[in-house]
Amino acid sequence: MRLPSRRRELEFPSIADLEGPLLEVEDLHTAFHTRRGLVRAVDGVSFELQRGKTLGVVGESGSGKTVLIRSIMGLLPPGAIERSGRVRFAGRDIEPLSARELRDVWGTQMALVFQDPMTALNPVVRIGRQITESLRKRVGLDRDAARETAIALLTSVGIPSPARRLRMYPHELSGGMRQRVMIAIALACGPRLLLADEPTTGLDVTIQAQILDLLRSLQQERSMGMILVTHDLAVVAGRTDEIAVMYAGRIVEYAATSDLFAHTRMPYTEALLRAIPRLSEPSHTRLRVIPGRPPDLANPPPGCAFAPRCAYVQERCRSEAPPLRDAGPTHRFACWFPVGSSEGANALASNLEASLPAAVALASAGHVSPAPQTLTSTGGTL
């Protein structure tokens, strides 16, 4: 029996009553003080998520995507961290909340599924207890009710013989099973928003497909909002409604999924798409590399962070960082010389003439940029 708590618990409106977006992030900044200086892991990120929708956040290592998730939830490690900006969940500001208050949010409103289930699950506690723990403390179920719910949860995530599994330890399960258990734990208290941080990286591709399908179906059943963080564009291609591409702590392109692939604007996104080896391509196709390395976040270059590696780079890019501007109602990007525009095409052509390595790499194997389209820009233009 849960003891009545003395402090007032935070109230959130129910899903049905919710008007407006489920999650709003406004100009979120998160920086760490390290020996090398101030590392701006998240440098001004804003987006909205409606309930029932899935947002994919794509980026490579160092892009800030994991820190973004942790920052949204308020799960950052203690220490020298600077955080600013607003995070609104179901209409309510949550970023000024203290850790104690946030405990009412974690689990019951927002839940996180981690990348590596082996280190995210407690290795010396049985699975059953790990699931029922939150059910008993947060929702207040008694032991039998919690156990019933746990069995139902395990069944809903597709684990066979759930009653037997409750008594197992994490190391007795396979990787795919552990990930399912983690999802069950995350969903135990019925959160509205599920944040999945690289949930399938490291799993076999056949298991990966199962887990992603599971997440999608659970999300639809419960009309949760979901944020799927990954480095793999293929994973988000079929399973998200919108995608945010991150680079060096910022969102550099944000679009509805089909838009992102069909009408890519940001050269980084385009380069990323071209660098992936595809099954449809013949063997020994020369891959179009992105030369160079991601920037050092403690010492970012002036101007656009992608400029040193960009095929479309011009002088302006190196001194002025481009703002996010619109290319349609749900398509934002940050580039002075975007893909598919006449400025972009000219920039690429002149870079090719000058034999800039990034341009040469992009244009190799006969690839040409798509025909220039006029940008439909609504405000925020040059």
Binding site: T206, A209, A234, V235, G238, A275, L279, S283
Partner: protein, 356 residues
């Protein structure tokens, strides 16, 4: 599945030939046959891609072929010389012909040694040249992989990025001018943009130095990109061996087909396929009898539990180990193939014999 058999071995100049490799770990009840009677060959100048999911034994096979993993039985032949039969000193010399590149770039290098020293080490082991000559050669090697020997060479591995460490690893592997390069998941731990760089680099180096490559990975798209021939493994056995185009267009083995179907395409227009494989990998200490894949195979039938399939040719150059292999869509191959439709006793598609 469970590929025993040697139908896919070719006559001709094989740089590497592995015959009936068996590798076991552990003792007693916890004994695991990581590699169970696997044979293959790699011709000179060819890249063989070895693909499979975790626990299939591909890394162990790679190490066995690199002569750093002792075999329980079977033999490894380099340039027609059986590695088990030659005296120890010659074995040591033979090692220089085969070098490895590993998955985790940072732990492939000694963390307490400067990168340049690590690259010089192979020559130092053999006492080749003076220290200055070694340094010079190491510097050249580092440059050929795109690493600056003066700036980056002085650092220790923890100060470098994953991509840089992997380049250094490759440079070190090339110092002894090997003929065969075994790459064990060389790009799995790297970002996409760096991955492409390393793959192109490997391709360039292979051409420049006339290398033969055994490329081990779990990412099918990567393997297709680099290979001339692809072998698919499952739970210690070979499933299918074929040229990449054919394997990907026309997989003959149900496991290969399932694997291909599970790969997400970075294209939202391509519809998601329903999950073709259910269940989890069976425990390697107690693999299923007969064909090891039968517990998850939509085509499994009684025969599969009793008889282990033997590798056979289903179309020119395309070999598979399955009793009920998928019909190749383009014509019938030569050879003895019994591609009977599976009897619907148990094993209706999707219903698997659960082994928990």
């Amino acid at each position: 599945m469970a590929g025993s058999g040697t139908a896919h071995l070719r006559t001709g100049e094989a740089l590497l030939r592995a015959d009936n490799l068996v590798v076991e770990f552990g003792t007693g009840e916890r004994r695991v046959r990581a590699v169970s009677d696997v044979s293959f060959d790699v011709l000179r100048g060819e890249t063989l891609g070895l693909v499979g999911e975790s626990g299939c034994g591909k890394s162990t096979t790679g190490r066995a072929v690199a002569l750093v993993q002792p075999l329980k039985s079977g033999r490894v032949c380099l340039e027609d010389t059986d590695m088990a039969q030659i005296p120890k000193r010659e074995l040591r010399t033979a090692r220089t012909k085969v070098q490895m590149v590993f998955q985790d770039p940072i732990s492939s290098l000694n963390p307490r040694r400067k990168v340049l020293d690590s690259v010089m080490e192979p020559l130092a082991v053999w006492g080749m040249g003076t220290k200055d000559e070694r340094r010079k050669k190491a510097g050249e090697c580092l440059e050929s992989v795109g690493v600056d020997p003066d700036q980056t060479g002085r650092r220790i591995p923890t100060e470098l990025s994953g991509g840089q460490c992997q380049r250094v690893s490759i440079a070190r592997a090339l110092m002894l001018e090997p003929k065969l390069l075994i790459c064990d998941e060389p790009v799995s731990a790297l970002d996409v943009s760096v991955q492409a760089q390393i793959l192109n680099l490997l391709q360039d180096l292979k051409e420049e130095r006339h290398l033969t490559v055994l490329f081990i990975a779990h990412d099918l798209a990567v393997v297709k990109n680099v290979s001339d021939r692809v072998a698919v493994m499952y739970l210690g056995k070979l499933c299918e061996v074929a040229p990449p185009e054919e394997l990907y267009l026309d997989p003959a083995h149900p496991y290969t087909a399932a694997l291909l179907a599970s790969i997400p395409e970075p294209d939202p227009e391509v519809p998601l396929k329903s999950v073709p494989l259910s269940g989890d990998l069976p425990s390697p200490t107690d693999p299923p009898s007969g064909c090891r894949f039968r517990t998850r195979c939509p085509r499994a039938a009684e025969r599969c539990a009793v008889e282990e399939p033997v590798i056979r040719e289903v179309s020119p150059g395309h070999f598979v180990a399955c009793h009920f292999s998928l019909q190749p869509s383009s014509g019938n191959g030569s050879g003895d193939k019994t591609t009977a439709t599976p009897s619907p006793t148990r094993g209706a598609p999707g219903e698997v014999i659960k082994k928990v």
